[in-house]
């Protein structure tokens, strides 16, 4: 008896920490703490700082910081540079996302079918996503270069363009916007495809069989059965993509730096050039957070719709 009692008591004293991990009310917070810390330190604090900068008169090389209210916004919003960038931001984000969703749907449907060499296609498809984006974009810089463009070399070799008629992909306003959108689509397509593919595989096979037996044509099947059933996940993909397109500037920074004549300048790149390279931190911050209320609203609406259209 005595030994039994001792055995029961011993671990309670010796392994108290082990038992803490058995209690959900401790384990949960403990597990999530690193993520919370990470987000607070890397995203939360800089964001709050940016909010404060946007209503201050801070600039590089000054050690004082004064509150100026909405002065930064009032001074930057009417400028033509800002107006152009705002317009470009919407064109860039919306056109690229429309393309991404359409192409990702097609790709995901194709990848759902069984065919030989499917894993190679999947691998190739994921490459743009796993490769460092700046590296991939530098590759595109070469592909779209005014002198070394392989596209132009190929087109000329096939006799489709002449040597003096080479398109300047990054040098002409509309072509430049087309180019940055193309590269951005190339880059976001894998993620959207994988998300949609996940949605498609979650639809029970019986539903597709039933639709087939019920006589649905391809289009009816797709738009009345498949798309409504993946709508929640489609909206999540779209939300990710839109927020990304509204806030990211890597592609534009590497390819055009906002040029020619600001025709590919978006708010994110304008904020960078004004705040970091131009040294006007306050105005840069104001530009950067200008779209924040809009993005918040977009995220809110999308998540509401996604929740409402959850079907099972």
């Amino acid at each position: 008896m005595a030994t039994l009692e001792r055995d029961l008591r011993a671990p309670a004293a010796g392994r108290r920490f082990g038992f803490v991990l058995d209690r959900p009310e401790w384990l949960g917070p403990l597990m999530i703490a690193p993520a919370v810390l990470y987000i607070v330190a890397i995203v939360g604090l800089p964001f709050l700082l940016a909010l404060y900068y946007s209503v201050s008169d801070i600039s590089m090389g000054r050690r004082t910081l004064g509150f100026v209210g909405l002065k930064n916004f009032i001074s930057v919003i009417p400028t033509s540079k800002f107006q152009t960038s705002l317009q470009n931001t919407f064109v860039f984000a919306i056109v690229s996302q429309v393309l991404v969703i359409i192409l990702a749907n097609i790709l995901a449907l194709a990848l759902l079918k069984e065919f030989r060499g499917k894993w190679v296609v999947r691998l190739l498809l994921l490459l743009p996503w796993v490769a460092p984006i700046s590296l991939g974009t530098i590759g595109w810089l070469w592909i779209l270069d005014s002198i070394y463009s392989v596209i132009n070399w190929t087109l000329e070799a096939f006799g489709l363009i002449t040597a003096d008629g080479w398109p300047m992909y990054l040098g002409k306003p509309y072509l430049a916007m087309g180019s940055v959108i193309t590269v951005h689509v190339w880059r976001l397509l894998p993620l959207a495809t994988v998300i949609i593919l996940a949605g498609l595989t979650s639809i029970p096979k019986d539903i597709h069989d039933a639709a087939q037996v019920d006589g649905a044509s391809f289009w009816r099947h797709h738009f009345q059965i498949t798309v409504p059933l993946i709508r929640p996940i489609l909206l999540v993909a779209l939300l990710f993509g839109l927020v990304f397109a509204f806030t990211d500037m890597v592609v534009i920074f590497v390819l055009t730096r906002g040029g020619p004549y600001d025709t590919t300048q978006v708010l994110a790149s304008l904020a960078f050039f004004t705040g970091i390279q131009g040294g006007d931190l306050a105005e840069g911050a104001a530009i950067a957070i200008f779209l924040f209320p809009l993005l918040l609203a977009v995220a809110f609406v999308f998540l509401r719709i996604a929740r409402r259209s959850e079907v099972t």
């Binding site: 029970p204 019920d214 006589g215 649905a216 044509s217 059933l229 099972t312």
Partner: protein, 343 residues
């Protein structure tokens, strides 16, 4: 209405012969049940008739026409799935209307037809609900209504009752049969449940290993099994099998009764039965034990109806008997039925 015929239909998945040369012909308006254990190929066969799987070989005919190359929508069939496969994002009305819209039925006729189909199954009040707001039995009716609404030539049902609870299943079985009799559409019904098969089918095709072992009326497959598989698969508990010098002899548990319980003493084969365990099932008792004497240590089961009043006790050896005409004989090698011989 149409006759469905399969000619030497095969389906191979690599080395697995899921369906291995099936020849079947339904009769006009017949209720044909495909019965077999899981993995016997019955669902694959049904899916090939539906056009959801391509046969590896053979021909499928519906209404005299070879339909191998026709897509499901051109085969004039309707199918009810085990999971019901209702479209979860559509209301019941739109679920039932979906096949009509897909076939281009004029818009004005659709509400009328949907109400007719819903009326057949008593679900008119559910038309505005989503599938997730329905009970299992209601979902099953919606699935049936969706199948009926376009008045198909053939109904294909894949275990439509297996997701219902036992009580509901009995009443659903009854309704299903009445409904099929009323509309008289040729129906192929897949199940692994022999009670369902016996109760519903005009004829039963018993399948195993991708082949049809026997096809016949419920009485034929039960009373005159074509081989030992059918003898063992149908009946609960299965047929008892004894080895005699050149073949196997089988008899049903309900024919293996205490000697006194037989009405006549003529044509009886007496067997000493050592009872080891008795299961009381209400209407029946199952007696587990082994034979003694001529067939030592052969395990057999007796099924006594509650009307048999002869006392039986576990641990005792009692005189039991089987009528000789209830014996069925099977070849020891092939398992097929052979001619009767003295036991």
């Amino acid at each position: 209405m149409a006759i469905v015929e399969t000619r030497d239909v095969r389906k191979h998945f690599g080395d697995v012969h899921a369906v291995d040369g099936v020849n079947l012909t339904t009769k006009e308006g017949e209720f044909l049940v495909l019965l077999g254990p899981s993995g016997c190929g019955k669902t694959t066969l049904l899916r090939m008739v539906a056009g959801l799987e391509d046969p590896t070989g053979g021909e499928i005919l519906i209404g005299g026409q070879v339909v191998n190359d026709l897509p499901p929508r051109a085969r004039k069939i309707a199918m009810v799935f085990q999971s019901y496969a209702l479209y979860p994002h559509m209301r019941v009305f739109d679920n039932i209307a979906f096949p009509l819209r897909a076939q281009g039925v004029p818009r004005a006729e659709i509400p009328h037809k949907v109400e007719w189909a819903a009326g057949l199954f008593g679900i008119e009040k559910l038309l505005h609900r989503k599938p997730r707001e329905l009970s299992g039995g209601e979902r099953q009716r919606v699935a049936l209504a969706r199948a009926v609404v376009r008045e198909p030539a053939v109904f294909l049902l894949d275990e439509p009752l297996s997701n219902l609870d036992a009580k509901l299943r009995t009443s659903a079985r009854d309704e299903l049969q009445q409904f099929q009799r009323r509309i008289g559409t040729t129906t192929i019904y897949v199940t692994h449940d022999q009670v369902e098969a016996m109760g519903l089918g005009d004829r039963i095709a018993v399948m195993q290993g991708g082949k049809v072992r026997q096809i016949g009326t419920p009485q034929e497959v039960y009373d005159e099994p074509a081989d030992t598989f059918v003898a063992g698969f149908l009946g609960s508990p299965p047929m008892n099998l004894l080895e005699i010098p050149d073949c196997l002899v089988g008899f049903r548990p309900e024919h293996f009764l205490p000697k006194e319980a037989h009405e006549s003493r003529d044509g009886l084969l007496a067997l000493k039965f050592h009872i080891s365990r008795i299961e009381y099932l209400g209407a029946d008792r199952l007696l587990y034990g082994a034979l003694e004497g001529k067939f030592p240590d052969t395990k057999v089961i007796s099924k006594l109806a509650s009307t048999v009043s002869t006392p039986v006790q576990p641990g005792k050896t009692q005189d039991f008997a089987v009528r000789e005409k209830d014996f069925r004989f099977f070849d020891r090698e092939t398992g097929l039925r052979t001619r009767p011989r003295p036991v």
